[in-house]
């Protein structure tokens, strides 16, 4: 496989975007990535579009987005990996360049989740597991899936609701500094703890919102990257893993095995350890998911995720700054966009362009952790300057 670099990133404002349709929204990110790289559409040989779909009117978003952005006749695909859909699109574009089949490729992630009513959106996400055995009769929701992990983690390790709320407070603090974030305001611990219960023990402020948004990433081979930019950000390693559709078939509920396995592969390929990572974005669709990620990615010992946030170690200035873009919690989680948004954020951090929320970069390495479903899919990307 050839060396591949991120040479362009684009990002739309995340939030309730009733002002744009899916194509217009995706174009905000595509245009941003083209301008950032200095490339034009005719330079892009392959395009992968990540979108989960169903909540907006277009059934073939890759085709409509590519038409609107004049990206055709490049090779085109649409990818799905639940909430890691954007990472699946990124992976497809990365492998296409790494294999030598294309020199320049683009991954676009886009989601438009607010065109339908909230309870139908909750229904669509709830069906995203083992439909017949866990939804048809039991109506399990996505907060419910993670709530069962929270119950297990709290029961085994003494993790408290306060620990979960601390994650929300941190991510809102950084969301307030991110102009692209859905929620750009700080919250207090009391506010988080007093919010209504969504799926016990998870409350409103433990959950990411339903968001609209898009992000795009342009990838290039080593030779091309050097022609395009002075600040390439290299893909040092990627690890992928999966787990059972049904939650009842999991080996345990205090972590996500897919994360552990994907992390092993990514660290090995990149020849790094968790200690070498300067900054990370992890999949905090729920606050408990961020605590599980601390442990599963090796940023702390198993069972000590609550302590890590309590000590403030995941803030800028701590041992490992995490989700300093606001995370899914405050930045928002447009499912298809998230994976590309994560890569864009780490690229921005490694370039030193993150402004007020810039993490100190010593080793020149960052990590993006994107989970699809409740650890049904996991994609981990390690990037380096």
């Amino acid at each position: 496989m050839r060396k591949v670099a991120v040479v362009g990133i684009g990002h739309s404002k995340f939030g309730r975007r009733t002002d744009v349709n899916v194509n217009e929204l995706a174009f905000e990110a595509i245009k941003g990535a083209l301008l950032d790289s200095g490339l034009t559409q005719k330079d892009i040989e392959f395009v992968s579009v990540g979108s989960y779909g169903m909540w907006y009117e277009e059934v073939l978003p890759a085709v409509t987005v590519a038409e609107y952005a004049k990206l055709y006749p490049a090779g085109l695909a649409r990818c799905e990996a639940a909430c890691a859909t954007g990472s699946a699109a990124f992976r497809f574009a990365y492998v296409t360049v790494a294999s030598g089949e294309a020199d320049v490729a683009m991954a676009v992630g886009v989601e438009k989740m607010t065109e339908i009513d909230t309870s139908t959106a909750v229904e669509i996400i709830g069906r995203s597991g083992s439909y017949l055995w866990e939804f048809e009769n039991f109506g399990l929701t996505f907060p419910g899936y993670y709530a069962m992990h929270a119950t297990a983690h709290m029961n085994k390790f003494g993790t408290k609701e306060e620990h979960l709320a601390m994650v929300a407070v941190k991510n809102h603090k950084y969301g307030a500094m991110n102009p692209y974030a859905h929620f750009q305001r700080e919250i207090t611990l009391e506010e988080a703890l007093k919010s209504f219960v969504v799926a016990w023990p998870l409350k409103l402020y433990d959950c990411c919102p339903l968001s609209d948004g898009a992000a795009a990433v342009i990838l290039a081979s080593k030779e091309k990257a050097k022609e395009i930019t002075d600040t390439p950000v290299w893909i040092l390693g990627m690890g992928l893993a999966s787990d059972s559709a049904g939650l009842s078939k999991r080996s345990e509920y205090t972590g996500l095995r897919a994360t552990v396995l994907a992390a092993e592969k990514a660290y090995k390929q990149a020849e790094v350890t968790p200690k070498d990572i300067d900054v990370a974005v992890v999949h905090d669709c729920f606050t408990i998911a961020e605590i599980l990620a601390y442990e599963d990615l090796g940023f702390c010992k198993k069972g000590e995720g609550g302590k890590l946030i309590e000590e403030g170690q995941t803030y800028i200035g701590g041992k490992i700054p995490i989700n300093v873009d606001g995370g899914l919690k405050a930045k928002g989680h447009p499912l298809g966009a998230t994976g590309c948004s994560m890569v864009a954020e780490i690229t921005r951090q490694l370039r030193g362009e993150a402004g007020k929320r810039q993490a100190p970069i010593k080793e020149g390495k960052g990590l993006a952790h994107n989970v699809g479903g409740t650890g049904h899919y996991c994609y981990i990307t390690i990037l380096g300057r």
């Binding site: 009733t18 002002d19 009117e57 009513d117 309870s119 139908t120 909750v122 229904e123 709830g126 069906r127 017949l132 055995w133 866990e134 939804f135 048809e136 009769n137 039991f138 109506g139 399990l140 929701t141 907060p143 419910g144 709530a147 069962m148 992990h149 929270a150 119950t151 297990a152 029961n155 209504f196 219960v197 969504v198 799926a199 016990w200 023990p201 998870l202 049904g246 939650l247 009842s248 078939k249 509920y253």
Partner: protein, 146 residues
């Protein structure tokens, strides 16, 4: 200060309704058994692997020769939640408790836990999985405290 009006949208006139007819011919013994409060599941004749929910194939040894066995339903609670924000098709129910229990036979099941208040639930408590006909007239199963 007056708030800006929301951006104009086109409310689509084409509403889509999807109702799936899910094939269950290969697991019908399970669904029929529920109506008589029995929990049947499958075990591979060749390698002995036990499945729950029932599977009509054994992906471990690639055999399609499965035995139907009745299980006790006795289980131990591993984890649970109570769903307050409900999906559209569950809006008519009161907030419900979903639990995962490890069955005595070694496999796990996920189902509603009824007949107990959330405050009284303890991880590790003994449960029983029972079959029944649900309020919508279709067979289902749930955990109850043992």
């Amino acid at each position: 200060m007056t708030k800006a009006p929301p951006p104009p949208t086109l409310k689509s006139a084409r509403t889509l309704t999807l109702t799936y007819e899910i094939p269950i011919s290969k697991t019908n013994k399970f669904w029929e058994g529920l109506k008589e409060n029995k929990i049947f599941t499958t075990r591979c004749k060749k390698c002995g692997e036990l499945y729950f929910p029932p599977s009509s194939d054994c992906p471990s040894c690639l055999s399609a020769e499965m035995d139907w066995i009745e299980i006790s339903g006795e289980a131990e609670l591993e984890t649970f939640t109570q769903i307050f924000v409900r999906p559209a098709t569950f809006a008519k129910y009161e907030p419900y408790i979903v639990a995962i229990g490890r069955l005595k036979e070694g496999v796990r099941a996920l189902a509603w836990l009824t007949g107990i208040k959330r405050e009284d639930i303890q991880v590790g408590m003994k449960l029983k999985l029972v079959g029944k006909v649900g309020p919508e007239g279709t067979p289902t199963y749930e955990f109850v405290p043992l």
